[in-house]
């Protein structure tokens, strides 16, 4: 194991303009500003003597996209980079791939680096698929001979055999993306930097891409992978780095870091009670509290997956005649929506009826043998009369579902999947001589 990427104190500064609308400078503007500047100095000789350019003070501001980032990455490591939008993930990749220079600090990388910040970089719409494969290969740093060798594999991976000699401008966007990813995926660099490029294409293709990235890593190459898909990070990477506001917030195994990232801002909560002026709601009613309770009525943040539980929504009706409706949405730790449940008429005489002002409690029963083991989040969506005045309170509750092993018996492993419902099973003996007949009892 040797260090492939070594970055020391990387910082990147951007100047953001507040006044100028244009993205770029023109000589005309520069000259105009110079004159304004001189004018200002003449008008305010005292200020000018401090030697600071007046114009810059009013119109620009420094923005540090990265602050003192230091990291070391070993050969063959698969590192996931996570963080919120604008945290500096892409800037980091751009610096590592030499596209921009860091303002401070230095990077050393051993081996050939290929970066995939966007699919289809350098694709030309007028050229055919075949021509674009060679062109894109060259842009990404493959020689013509190499591309030729991989050509069939690329075409097969992208599933565009029939359209090879069609200009890519006539491709569907899915085909376009598939072809672009296929070229990039067949690069053989020592270090591969991948930005959020997998959020394209259909589910099957995304899976294929993730599989391909996994293969790349198995061959001993180093992969840096930026994604918002925590599931992908968890399965693909063995290490993860969480970048927050330009600094490394957390660096560790993928499971640890993803866990920490998911838990931020929403600690385990069995009950949420809003202060009077912070209650989510609309003109008709407002939420007072939401509580998760065990079957014996105790508020809890851990439920047993084989036992029933309830979620109680307390709310105050403020407009006479309002009809309150709710929907609960369950999320898993990777931010996948597990399911939603709409309050329904099977309930009682209050549901969907005009209510008098006052406090009410809507109780949603969650039966046992439904969830799988793991962490879940609950969002509450409320609306009155029609869904136009809906509001939502995201991730208000968060709890662990624990498996007591009632169904597992002697099986000690984990169940796959997001839910683990108890379905109806039945076993019957089958007579050998009645094979050709029906299976009816």
């Amino acid at each position: 194991m040797s260090t492939v990427i070594k970055a020391e104190n990387l910082s990147k500064k951007y100047i953001i303009g507040h006044q100028r609308q244009e993205q770029y400078l023109t000589v005309r503007d520069t000259i105009a500003h110079k004159f304004k500047d001189i004018g200002n100095r003449l008008m305010h000789p005292l200020l000018a003597s401090s030697g600071q350019p007046l114009m810059d003070l009013s119109s620009t501001e420094e923005f540090w996209a990265l602050k003192e980032i230091s990291l070391e990455i070993q050969q063959g490591e698969r590192v996931g980079i996570i963080g919120r939008n604008g945290a500096g993930k892409t800037t980091l990749l751009k610096i590592l791939s030499c596209i921009t220079e860091p303002t401070k600090g230095r990077v050393s990388i051993r081996g050939r680096v290929a970066s995939l910040l966007e699919v289809g970089t350098g694709f030309h719409p007028e050229l055919t698929g075949r021509e674009n494969i060679y062109l894109n290969g060259a842009v990404l740093g493959m020689s013509k001979a190499e591309t030729k060798k991989k050509f069939d594999a690329i075409v097969a991976f992208a599933e565009v055999e029939k359209f090879l000699d069609t200009p890519v401008k006539r491709y569907s966007s899915g085909m376009y993306v598939r072809l672009a990813f296929a070229v990039a995926a067949h690069l053989e660099p020592e270090v591969l930097l991948v930005d959020e490029v997998l959020a394209v294409g259909d589910a099957a293709f995304q899976k294929k891409c993730l599989g391909k990235l996994g293969d790349v890593a198995k061959e001993g190459r180093t992969v840096l992978f930026v994604s918002h898909n925590m599931g992908a990070i968890n399965t693909l990477c063995d290490r993860a780095i969480w970048i927050d506001k330009g600094t490394i917030a957390h660096d560790g195994t993928a499971a640890q870091v993803v866990g920490a990232y998911m838990n931020q801002g929403s600690p385990i909560a069995k009950q949420v009670i809003w202060a009077k002026n912070e209650r989510p709601g609309n003109q008709s009613f407002q939420l007072v509290s939401v509580t998760l309770k065990r079957s014996d009525g105790v508020a809890t943040s851990e439920i047993n997956i084989s036992e029933d539980a309830t979620i109680e929504i307390e709310y105050e009706v403020i407009r006479s005649g309002a009809r309150a409706m709710f929907s609960l949405v369950f999320w898993d730790a990777n931010s996948n929506c597990v399911f939603g449940s709409l309050s329904n008429t099977a309930e009682n005489s209050y549901h969907g009826k005009s209510l008098k002002p006052g406090c009410y409690l809507s109780i949603c029963g969650l039966y046992g043998h439904l969830l799988n083991e793991g962490r879940y989040y609950i969002s509450v969506i409320g609306a009155s009369d029609n869904w136009n005045d809906g509001f939502r309170a995201d991730h208000v509750l968060s709890f662990y579902a624990l498996d007591d092993g009632v169904l597992k018996r002697d099986y000690s492993g984990n169940y796959g999947g997001v839910i683990r419902p108890r379905l109806i099973w039945k076993t019957i003996p089958v007579q050998i001589n009645s094979r050709n007949n029906s299976y009816r009892e």
């Binding site: 951007y14 770029y24 400078l25 023109t26 000589v27 005309r28 520069t30 751009k94 791939s97 030499c98 596209i99 921009t100 220079e101 680096v113 970066s115 910040l117 966007e118 970089t121 350098g122 030309h124 007028e126 050229l127 021509e131 060679y134 062109l135 060259a138 842009v139 990404l140 740093g141 200009p167």
Partner: protein, 246 residues
């Protein structure tokens, strides 16, 4: 080099007469110049057919002008690539020049046809042509690098390029022989580096009939070297921040 190949391929896609465009443009310019300068203005033709005189100058000029326009816009039109992939940035303006070189070679075929038509046989001077071709490539790249890099930061330079190429056509000795310039102004005239290049091309193609003004040529050549090296230096310095400002 793939960029050059791409641009050449793309250039004539979805056109009806395709590559013929690169033949037609210089040919028509040549015809017009011959009529305006040769027939109407009665400029001296140095003892060679006027169309050949004009065409020998049009070759380097067309190459210079089109390559300059392309290379100065090259970085901006490839902006998405610059911000997404790393590759030596110099490839971009260079490949724009290479595209023009391809056009140059096609135009050179027309010159051959003209020579056959007028039964004009060049002498040994033509063997020096690669040297002058090298010179025009350097001049083009030199200006190209300057303008491409400046254009990234200050977009006004694209207007300057249009202006330069339109104006340059008349202040460079394309439609006429540089011998029409009075001798005492010739050194000053050679401050335009295209003067030296065009004179060189004519000297190489037209042979002994055409005389070259050596001090002027030397001045042009020195200027070209200066522009090339300073362009390269500026480009290398500016390329670090291309991805941030483009």
């Amino acid at each position: 080099m793939f960029l050059a190949w791409r641009d050449i391929l793309v250039r004539y896609k979805q056109t009806i007469i395709g590559v013929a465009w690169s033949v037609l443009r210089p040919f028509i310019t040549m015809v017009i110049f011959t009529i305006v300068f040769g027939k109407l203005a009665q400029f001296p033709s140095e003892g060679v057919p006027y169309p050949i005189l004009v065409f020998a100058a049009l070759l380097p000029w067309q190459m210079f002008a089109s390559a300059l326009t392309d290379s100065s816009n090259s970085l901006i039109s490839n902006a998405s690539m610059l911000t997404k992939v790393y590759f030596p940035r110099l490839i971009v303006p260079t490949s724009a020049v290479m595209v023009s070189l391809a056009d140059f070679l096609i135009s050179f075929g027309i010159l051959g046809a003209l020579m056959v038509w007028y039964r004009f046989v060049p002498d040994w001077h033509i063997l020096t042509l690669p040297f002058f071709l090298f010179l025009v490539l350097m001049a083009t790249l030199g200006f190209g690098m300057w303008l491409a890099a400046l254009n990234v930061k200050y977009r006004d330079f694209r207007y300057i390029v249009t202006f330069l190429t339109q104006f340059g056509l008349y202040i460079s000795p394309v439609g006429f022989s540089s011998s029409v310039i009075p001798d005492r102004w010739r050194l000053l005239y050679s401050l335009n580096p295209m003067v030296g290049i065009i004179d060189g091309f004519r000297w190489a193609i037209l042979g002994g009939a055409y005389t070259i003004y050596m001090p002027g040529f030397a001045l042009s050549a020195i200027l070209i070297f200066v522009i090339f090296w300073s362009g390269l230096a500026y480009f290398r310095k500016a390329e670090r921040s291309f991805a941030d400002v483009i």
